[in-house]
């Protein structure tokens, strides 16, 4: 056997060339793998949309009543996005307060509430909305598109977007009370 082989492949196939393709493949593969895992790690670490970043304009929700809401069309208004589900127990704790906040804000017309029903069945979701007398628009998060954009970790989670479409506030878990919601909305309105 000639001794000028430098194939660092898993299996030493005879390589007559000076440039070792095996080495390139191995290092390239390692690099690709590290890039993939690195990007993923970055994504996991960063979470979804950071405070100050713009929420994609093409996010769209079709409410249970059939009307549609598109983030891009809601520019100029403050948008409160609340993720919930009928099977979620802690969502029930904040449902009444959210509805109260909506009742206070709706007449002024500066704020839009969007309730996004995260992986749920329609009959159960509708029963939930009825039970808590929710009157702001609610719709299913189809194919978890919104949840994936916001990197939802669980329900409930609430996001508030300012008039320019930038995220100004996020709340993981339920709101404590009405005051907390109103303070958060005030923050967005004053921007």
């Amino acid at each position: 056997m000639s001794e000028n082989e430098t194939l660092p492949e898993a299996n030493p196939a005879p390589g007559k060339k000076k440039v070792s393709w095996g080495a390139i493949v191995v290092w390239g593969g390692l690099l690709a793998l590290l890039v993939i895992v690195g990007l993923m790690l970055n994504r996991t670490q960063k979470g979804g949309i950071a405070i100050g970043e713009t929420v994609p304009a093409d996010l769209e929700m079709t409410a249970f009543d059939g009307s549609t809401y598109r983030m891009g069309d809601l520019r100029g208004k403050v948008v409160l996005i609340n993720f919930w589900a009928s099977w979620c127990t802690t969502c029930k704790d904040e449902a009444a307060a959210l509805e109260q906040a909506w009742q206070m804000e709706q007449p002024k017309g500066e704020v839009v509430f969007l309730g996004l029903d995260y992986v749920d069945t329609e009959p159960d979701a509708k029963a939930y909305l009825e039970r808590f007398d929710v009157s702001y628009p609610n719709g299913p998060d189809k194919a978890t598109r919104w949840a994936q954009v916001f990197h939802l970790r669980g329900v409930p989670e609430t996001y508030i977007v300012d008039r320019e479409g930038r995220l100004v506030y996020k709340k993981i878990g339920p709101f404590r009370d009405l005051d907390e919601i109103m303070t958060a909305l005030q923050l967005a309105l004053e921007k």
Binding site: A10, A13, A85, S86, W87, V119, D120, T121, P140, T144
Partner: protein, 177 residues
């Protein structure tokens, strides 16, 4: 009745028997005009087994114990009652809860890659094996055999594997002690 007609008649009978006998499931579900057939838990579970719970981590829907999963199984039951096929139900779940509810990625677009790569890996392995063997494989010839007698495997005692085996064992014992 001539022979040909007889064959036709026979063929027709076979087709009818097949249609009635082989596809009772189809006739019972999809084509059944009665409004609400009774759907058993087993039928629901059979569909749920092909799906993953959308909120848990890697738990098939038929074995998931949360309230949410019970709701989804109820949904499947209603859909089966309305005469949906398994594919339709799966599609509904994908549309509403994302592709992760399927036990394996759908075969389309980028996800084809999931199915293409394993055979490629195996092909690459075969290629490497071929290359390596080409380098390593030296069928034994009579001359080399004489020149390089091997300690353990040489003199392949073709007669009686028993003796050869015993010899091999003895030798291994010797080498150990």
């Amino acid at each position: 009745m001539n022979k040909r007609q007889l064959w036709y008649a026979l063929g027709l009978v076979v087709v009818l028997v097949l249609a009635l006998g082989a596809f009772p499931g189809v006739t019972a579900h999809a084509a059944d005009p009665t409004p609400t057939p009774v759907i058993t838990d087993d039928q629901v579970n059979a569909v749920a087994h092909t799906l993953y719970c959308p909120v848990c981590e890697n738990t098939p829907l038929d074995v998931c114990g949360t309230q949410a999963c019970a709701q989804w199984r109820e949904l499947i039951r209603q859909q089966l009652q309305q005469g949906w096929t398994v594919e339709q139900i799966q599609q509904y779940f994908v549309d509403n809860y994302g592709a992760r509810v399927l036990a394996a990625p759908p075969r389309k677009g980028f996800w084809w890659l999931a199915y293409v790569v394993p055979p490629l890996i195996i092909l690459a392995g075969l290629y490497i094996l071929y290359r390596s063997l080409k380098q390593w494989y030296h069928p034994r010839q009579a001359t080399t055999e004489a020149a390089a007698p091997r300690a353990d495997a040489a003199a392949p005692a073709e007669d009686g594997a028993q003796d050869e085996y015993l010899r091999r064992m003895e030798e291994e014992l010797h080498r150990r002690s």
